[in-house]
């Protein structure tokens, strides 16, 4: 029991530590652009678009999180285009025409990315199919807990064993 109390106390302490005010350090001088927008919707679009594009010169980071260089230039272009009233679609085309598919964190649906976009759905369908087939084989059709191959005698024996095992398990629990 002591171990349990100790672990609960540890978690509560950690929760307290998380909730208490703190100040924290950063070695990355984060990007701070001072752009004035006409409304919050524009600001939101700017943020969303900066998150959707990959910084071309960084290892793997979006435009928002990259401090300098071409990422800052591209953010400036996004800002300019938002203020000019261009649509998200147009801004994406602008990026695509200059930097190619690499810059889009949300890949376009093409013949080569069909598997990427529909793969998860395919996995899900396979998963559902597998689950159903397992369920059917396990006698999942409501009352069919046993298969046809069992004679009534075997079925009786099975029930006895089940009951016996159930008791075993509940004893142990």
């Amino acid at each position: 029991m002591r171990l349990i109390h100790a672990s609960i106390a540890a978690v509560l302490l950690a929760v307290a530590a998380l909730v208490l005010p703190m100040s924290a350090g950063s070695v990355h001088a984060a990007a701070v652009d001072v752009y004035e927008f006409e409304n919050t919707e524009q600001q939101q679009r700017f943020r969303n678009l900066s998150n959707e594009f990959r910084c071309p010169m960084c290892q793997n980071a979006n435009l928002t999180s990259s401090p300098g260089g071409v990422a800052a230039d591209l953010r400036r272009e996004i800002y300019r285009m938002i203020i000019e009233g261009r649509t998200d679609q147009e801004i994406e085309e602008f990026m695509l025409n200059r930097y190619g598919d690499f810059i889009l964190y949300r890949p376009r649906l093409t013949l080569q990315t069909v598997l990427l976009w529909f793969g998860p759905l395919l996995f899900l369908l396979i998963g559902i199919w597998a689950a159903f087939s397992i369920m059917r084989r396990s006698g999942g059709g409501d009352s069919q807990l046993t298969t046809e191959s069992l004679s009534s005698e075997e079925e009786l024996r099975l029930k006895q064993l089940l009951a016996q095992k159930e008791n075993d398990v509940s004893d142990k629990a």
Partner: protein, 674 residues
């Protein structure tokens, strides 16, 4: 001289690992008890020699022995002592030594807590872990030896530890992540031992579960720490980037979650045996895959260590041998693991099956997204695409939604068969309450119809109410409610606490994504900016002299409803030695919201650019993970698992019962796995 001792010790550990991989395994095959029993002392030896290696590497750091290449590349005489020690895992070679040492620590734990297990089983488990250890130590000796020297002309001083790693969270994040990660090799070894012996019964599952739960709980903490670090360190409010190096641990976590659920069904009901084994192999495979991706430079990532194809080829070869071999063994031996009789519709088995299905589909989808850029490059002959957060969020969020729906039902359902009427009775009120309150609360609070927030609230309340309802039902048959609650098993509490934590994390993640607001402004001293309900007043900056840096510290007063709320003091630092500018954020973290300010640059006329953030519920993400980990630990401490002296007769009788039923029904002969 001393680093050579470390190297020598590493070589000894390698030699002992070879012995451990062979002798107990052969002993188990030939029923030679002495050979089997050699597993324990050999394991202890490996642990001792790897510990010596690790301590010597630490000693080399502390004594500034820059003739050791790894020390020269990752330390500096001016580095504070605590970072000199943690620099041991601050680079590829040292972190791999640390990782291998962690493996030997887990192996030692197996020898300590396996007194009740059959000797042949322990021998096989240790031998499998010995094989893994052979691979790791050989990898170090062959391609990445932390004790390599720069002789005859060692540098006068070291290149210093990466500044990003000079941080408290980074002292504890890698150890916990590695410890959880490596822990999955224990469960893997259990699974391989079961495949070799063909023996997988309720007792096996009972031995396995605490290890799986412990590894998974620790991995939860490791992931959470990494995310927390990213949040306060990177300075733009992100807490998960779906980076190729972050994804494999998440895959391991998801597969681990699937495995501990499947193990529950295997223990209680004897079902999903081969599936559990397959999950154990896959969880371990994904942890090796993570190693491979991090250390081979296969994918472009912010975290990648070294980009050396030789290392990649080596790890891939090891991966192929261990995982390919295991899966082949699985294909050959799985039919021997006979699963039990069936289960009805609405049974708990069925919900666990659905849970596993979702978790595995989510893992597969993340793996697909992570590796797809490489596949694309191979298909198109060199074109590059990026698969990033927008993709992963689109795929992952709906799957987690389904999972949370199931999470409300699963714990209420019963093993073997649950009547639909019972579920309806238990859950209809819960569903109605969750729907009504889940819609009403966000609408009342925001005076809008925020669909995403409503969805989040409904799902969160659904699980919470179902949980409370279940506690109410299950505590009913005792004299008092409190006695009833106390009477519930620790593993039951573990499950509920972990589920609660999961919902809390998900809720925090969703709400903070929906409601976070931010603004970048240019302020003169005395000027203010509004964000949400808050007004941030910039009072000006003051120069601050730190021990090894100079800084401008801004004072920002936050006002809400005309009331002074608090002050934040973000800094812009310049480390004088390296000339690195850094941002020290001002964060005020509370249960319901974080306020933080990240200072930009001084501009003309004493003005400063700065980013202001209000992030509601963001802390729930990490508090939730603490509950998840606590739940895992509670489950480990269940006294069922602490009774190590299991009477042999009992285990055997269950086993015999299983076997006869398995034979009689010829049901699910390993077919569950496919």
């Amino acid at each position: 001289m001393i680093p050579e001792l470390g190297n020598f010790s590493l070589i000894l550990a390698f030699c002992l690992s070879i012995l451990l991989a062979v002798i107990p395994m052969v002993g188990a095959a030939r029923d030679n008890l002495l050979w089997m029993k050699l597993g324990r002392p050999l394991t202890a030896g490996i642990f001792v020699f790897l510990s010596i290696s690790l301590i010597i590497l630490g000693y080399s750091f502390v004594t500034d022995d820059f003739s050791v290449a790894f020390v020269a590349n990752h330390s500096n005489s001016a580095l504070p002592i605590q970072y000199k020690i943690t620099a041991v895992w601050g680079g590829h070679e040292g972190s791999f030594l640390f990782w291998t040492w962690m493996l030997s620590a887990w192996m030692l734990a197996v020898t300590v807590f396996s007194k009740a297990m059959p000797e042949d089983f322990v021998a096989r488990v240790l031998a499998v872990m010995g094989m893994i250890c052979v691979g790791y130590t050989l990898f170090m000796l062959a391609t990445s030896n932390p004790f390599d020297r720069v002789l005859p002309l060692p540098p006068a001083d070291g290149a210093d530890l990466n500044a990003a790693l000079q941080d408290f969270a980074f002292i504890i994040h890698p150890p916990s992540l590695y410890m959880g990660y490596v822990g999955f090799s224990v469960v893997f070894a259990f699974a391989i031992a079961a495949l070799i012996s063909g023996r997988l019964d309720a007792a096996w599952a009972r031995w396995c579960r605490p290890w799986a739960n412990a590894a998974w709980a620790i991995l939860t903490l490791g992931l959470s720490l990494g995310s927390w670090w990213a949040y306060y360190e990177l300075g733009w409010g992100g807490w998960w980037a779906w980076d190729p190096v972050e994804n494999p641990p998440l895959i391991t976590w998801l597969l681990g979650a699937a495995m501990i659920h499947s193990l529950a069904a295997t223990e209680k009901r004897g079902v999903f045996k081969s599936w559990t084994v397959l999950l154990a192999i896959m969880a371990f495979a994904s942890s090796l895959l993570g190693t491979f991706i991090t250390r081979s430079g296969l994918l472009t990532s912010v975290h990648a260590f070294a980009t050396d194809p030789t290392r990649g080829v080596y790890i891939l070869g090891f991966l192929g041998f261990i995982i390919g071999g295991s899966l082949l063994l699985y294909a050959i031996r799985a039919p021997a693991l006979k699963s039990e009789f069936g289960f009805g519709s609405w049974s708990r088995e069925l919900f666990l099956l659905a849970n596993n299905m979702i978790l595995v589909v989510a893992s597969a989808a993340i793996l697909l997204g992570t590796l797809y850029p490489m596949v694309y490059q191979a298909i198109t002959g060199g074109d590059l695409i990026s698969v990033g957060p927008p993709y992963f969020n689109t795929i992952f969020v709906p799957l987690m939604g389904i999972l949370v729906v199931l999470m409300g039902i699963g714990p209420v359902s019963r093993w073997k068969k649950t009547s639909a009427a019972y579920l309806r009775q238990q859950l209809s009120k819960v569903a109605i309450a969750a729907l009504v309150l889940g819609v009403a609360i966000p609408v009342v609070l925001t005076l809008e119809v925020p669909l995403a927030a409503i969805g989040t609230a409904v799902l969160a309340l659904w699980v919470t109410f179902a949980m409370l309802g279940d506690l109410w039902t299950k505590s009913a048959n005792k004299s008092t409610r409190l006695a009833g609650l106390k009477g519930l098993s620790l593993s039951y509490w573990g499950m509920q606490v972990a589920h609660f934590g999961f919902v809390m994390t998900m809720t925090g993640a969703c709400l903070t994504s929906i409601y976070s607001i931010e603004r970048s402004v240019l302020l003169q001293a005395g000027q203010s900016a509004d964000l949400g309900n808050y007004t941030f007043v910039f009072n000006g900056t003051e120069p601050v002299q730190g021990p090894n840096y100079i800084a401008d510290e801004a004072s920002i007063t936050v006002i809400r409803d005309d009331e002074h709320l608090l002050n934040l003091y973000p800094q812009k630092r310049l480390y004088t030695a390296s000339g690195t500018p850094t941002t020290q954020m001002g964060i005020d973290g509370r249960f319901f919201r974080d306020l933080f300010v990240s200072l930009g640059d001084p501009r003309a006329g004493g003005a400063w650019s700065m980013s202001l953030y209000v992030k509601p519920f963001v802390r729930w993400i990490w508090i939730g993970t603490l509950f998840i980990a606590l739940g895992g630990i509670l489950a480990v401490t269940d006294k069922r698992y602490r009774r190590y002296k299991v009477r042999r007769g009992e285990a055997v009788s269950v086993d015999a019962g299983n076997a006869s039923v398995g034979a009689a029904t010829a049901l699910g002969s390993g077919g569950h796995g496919s």
